[in-house]
């Protein structure tokens, strides 16, 4: 039953998916319940992380080998409900209902049973073969919460396994239960809502006899009652009468409860969840004397403190950047020294075409290695540690107010920080934002964040030959520019924005497997997108260069570069090269001027202006590719074009102003 042979709406699913799996199972549950840890425990290293076809939602799958069977494991996005609030919710419910996985494992957090059961109840309505893993039972025990998993299993009618995934506890029991579930399962009893709701669900079910959807009947009826836009549309195409009746019934519920029907249904589900939770939870009475504060409370007293909290944010982000660039510069120097033994590091611009192309490709490869390994990798590793420990959510809370100025909210700090490493994974991470407008806005601002390659240019031109303060001033100016550009874009872009509503997980010691997986997921996009773009782009540009297109290009750009920006004419071509790789600006400059002492060929003003322009003028080709694939080519080109205009305008003004002071 695995796979979706008849499904024509998602032909791309099978392209990025594991072949020859005997079974398919899915992990579903809230965010921050340790779902990813269980996923890693089940599948090991054999994972494919990609996109749901046509959606900006991450899809992770891996292979579990158990009892001689190949089982494909899909890690569904962490969600709280099956409404249509976000793309993640739609993707998950369609996967479960339409692709019929052989089993669904609902991972729930033992410490927040009610909220997790709220989701389990909805999952049960989709009626897949299902089981529950009650995770982090150790943490719940510490808080005095004991859960009777046997009773939970009886009440819900599905197998329940307690786990402590981070320590591998309960994983063998889980895999056994999965195999058991795939061999056959009993249909769990229906969880009933209030009388006035059930009566109306029954009425709709009786009408649905002639309608065929690929969703379960009771679920379809409930969704019709909830006025779910997607399901309503599907049913309307077959029988508009039912939709009308369901609308009337929903109206009746609304007038009984005086609430929108979807809110009534949430309240009903929470009532069921509360009732079940009350039956299976036994609370240990807190001990005598004053309650001991938990570690999370103690840490939050600093992390969310009105003064200390901001100092902590500055120290942590600043430390992250400084550490990255100090360590990065050392490792990078070592690596490029090592690699230059194999091949001429400088661009070859004469001789046979093949040599030129190979040399171009090799310099692209070297550039990739000397940027990714020393700078980006450690940066993302440390960031993943911060993320998994729970501290990143505190940064989001502290900076939420500031992010409002950009038309975003606290969560957007994650893509923006990621952008300092490389813009490519940062743009992917804009998926965490809720609305399309906020996603696009965040991605646009990410492209203005100076990534490692741009930092190399700023440091190499300004910090080395002017002074460090001008380099820092450029950074400060960039932040200012992000604020201004963010405000303008927020005002002009259509679409809606929603405020921050975010769960605050407890702090915990980061799990090595989750940290490594997150780092790898982000670095991987560099290997598949940035590396090829570097290598191919460098080879092509080298060929253009050798073909003698240098002077014509420079002449063509001269009105802008020389007259408006006040730079030497030769700089024109380096800016073109910079589209492929930003740090190539500085590399070509050295070759063209036959010196690395840039102070000898350019004035301090020119150095600052050149750094400023290369920081802003266009996202590099890899970023444009990713923008195109995530948001469409129209938006990618609009962002690129507006940044070229902005960089030229800002650069020209800076040239004139700086000439007065420097």
């Amino acid at each position: 039953m695995s796979g979706c042979k008849e499904c024509k709406s998602c032909p791309a699913t099978r392209e990025s998916t594991l072949k020859n799996a005997d079974y398919t199972i899915a992990l579903a549950g809230n965010a921050n319940v340790g779902k990813s840890v269980i996923f890693n425990q089940l599948t090991g290293v054999d994972q494919i992380i990609g996109n749901w076809p046509g959606k900006t939602v991450e899809r992770a799958e891996g292979l579990l080998l158990h009892a001689g069977k190949r089982i494909r494991v899909i890690d569904l996005p962490g969600i709280y409900s099956f409404s249509t609030y976000s793309m993640e919710e739609l993707v998950s419910r369609d996967f479960i209902a339409l692709e019929h996985p052989d089993a669904v494992i609902n991972v729930i957090d033992a410490s927040a049973l009610e909220r997790n059961l709220f989701f389990s109840i909805q999952l049960l309505e989709l009626a897949p073969p299902m089981m529950i893993a009650v995770n982090q039972i150790d943490l719940a025990e510490k808080k005095g919460i004991t859960i009777d998993t046997g009773k939970l299993s009886t009440l819900l009618g599905v197998p329940v396994v307690p786990t402590v995934a981070i320590r591998g506890k309960g994983i063998p029991a889980l895999t056994n239960a999965i195999t058991g579930l795939m061999q056959g399962h009993t249909v769990p009893p229906v969880l009933r809502y209030g009388k006035e709701i059930e009566e109306r669900i029954g009425k709709i079910i009786s009408l649905l006899g002639m309608v065929t959807t690929r969703y379960p009947v009771r679920w379809t009826a409930i969704k019709l009652l909830e006025r779910d836009p997607v399901i309503t549309q599907i049913v309307r195409e077959q029988d508009p009468g039912i939709v009308e009746t369901a609308g009337v019934l929903a109206g009746e519920i609304e007038s009984i409860h005086g609430e929108p029907v979807c809110v009534v249904m949430s309240a009903e589900r929470y009532q069921v969840a509360d009732r079940i939770a009350a039956e299976v939870i036994s609370l240990r009475a807190p001990g005598e004397g004053p309650q001991k504060k938990s570690l999370t409370d103690k840490l939050d007293a600093v992390a969310l403190h009105p003064v200390l909290g901001y100092l902590a944010v500055i120290a942590v982000i600043g430390g992250l950047l400084v550490w990255t660039f100090l360590v990065g510069a050392l490792v990078s120097a070592f690596l490029s020294g090592f690699l230059s033994q194999f091949e001429q590091y400088r661009p070859v611009i004469s001789g046979p075409l093949m040599d030129i192309l190979l040399n171009g490709a090799f310099t692209g490869f070297v550039a990739g290695i000397t940027l990714v390994v020393p700078y980006v990798l450690p940066f993302y590793l440390l960031l993943a540690v911060m993320e998994d420990s729970g501290y990143l959510t505190r940064i989001s809370v502290m900076l939420d107010r500031g992010m409002h100025k950009l038309g975003l909210h606290g969560k957007a700090i994650i893509p923006l920080i990621l952008g300092y490493g490389c813009n490519v994974p940062a743009i992917y991470s804009c998926r965490i934002m809720e609305t399309p407008k906020q996603k696009t806005l965040a991605a646009f601002l990410v492209t203005l964040v100076p990534c490692t390659a741009r930092t190399v240019v700023i440091l190499g031109l300004v910090a080395a030959f002017v002074n460090i303060w001008w380099a820092l001033a450029l950074y400060a100016f960039d932040i200012l520019l992000i604020i201004v550009a963010g405000r303008i874009a927020f005002k002009t872009m259509p679409g809606e924005s929603v405020g921050l509503i975010m769960e605050m997980p407890d702090y915990h010691v980061p799990s090595l497997s989750v940290v490594l997986k997150q780092t790898w997921a982000r670095t991987k996009s560099l290997i598949w997108i940035v590396f090829p773009a570097y290598i191919i782009g460098s080879a092509i540009i080298q060929a253009f260069y050798a073909a003698g297109l240098l002077t014509p290009v420079n002449d063509l750009l001269a009105p802008v570069t020389v007259l408006w920006l006040g730079l030497p004419a030769l700089v024109g071509i380096t800016l073109i090269f910079g589209i492929v790789r930003k740090e190539m600006t500085i590399l070509t400059l050295a070759v063209l001027f036959h010196t690395t002492n840039f102070a000898a060929i350019m004035s301090p003003v020119q150095l600052v202006v050149l750094a400023l322009v290369s920081m802003l003028y266009i996202p590099c080709i890899s970023v444009i590719l990713v923008l195109g694939s995530e948001f469409g080519w129209k938006k990618a080109l609009a962002i690129s074009a507006s940044e070229i205009v902005m960089a030229i305008a800002v650069g020209g003004i800076a040239f004139r102003l700086l000439s007065l002071v420097m």
């Binding site: 709280y80 409900s81 409404s83 609030y85 410490s111 927040a112 049973l113 009610e114 909220r115 709220f118 919460i145 609304e254 007038s255 005086g258 609430e259 929108p260 979807c262 809110v263 949430s266 309240a267 929470y270 509360d274 939050d300 969310l304 009105p306 909290g309 959510t393 989001s396 809370v397 502290m398 939420d400 107010r401 909210h409 606290g410 929603v498 405020g499 921050l500 509503i501 975010m502 769960e503 605050m504 997980p505």
Partner: protein
Amino acid sequence: MASEQVEEYLEAIYDLESRDGSAKTTTIAKCMKVAPASVTEVLKSLSDKGFVQYEPYRGATLTEEGKKIADTIKRKHRLLEVFLTDVVKLNQEKVHDQACRMEHTISEETEDALCRMLDAPAHCPHGSPISPCNKGVGSCAECNSAGKTDMPVAIRDKKIIPITDLDLEQKSRIAFIRGDCKVVQRLSDLGLTLGTTVSLLKKTPMGGPVEILVRRTKLAIDHAIAENIFIESPGPGET
């Protein structure tokens, strides 16, 4: 004494009381641009009606009854300001004076209709909060449907306050969520359903997000959203 005058006085006392703790005769006089002697007259009469507590030389404070009237008038005033600014597009400087005169004449029904038309704004154009209405509804959607059918709605019997006004660690039950359906849906998905007990864990400075505890889960919520989550005002004894 005309009801308009009563309301004007109560409003002035309300403002002064929230600024200084109590309203002194001389300050009221300055505010209302009248002689202190006539203020004393009015205060005595308001005190007789049970709207203010008045002690000579110490000033006046509003009674529960007086506060209720002042609250309603403030709400009408600020709703009218939003209306005059956003819909009528009146010059910002004239908005306050105009609203000051209109607030005494509009009926409760008009007030509700205004609130619905303006999508239940949370702030006046000058940034002051608009208190929720005193209807016994759990959300604005409920008010909307009641408005369509012209259904009478009971008056809410308990006093409600935004969750942001709770003291830290204080607990209470959700009574009313103001806002559009999408946000209300999201909040209820995360466990914030009507009648649920919530407590305020932390506030961040300068109107940053607040952290609340609901159903054993900690949530960080945008300040503007949290301001629209109203809870039953806990009595002085409950914590």
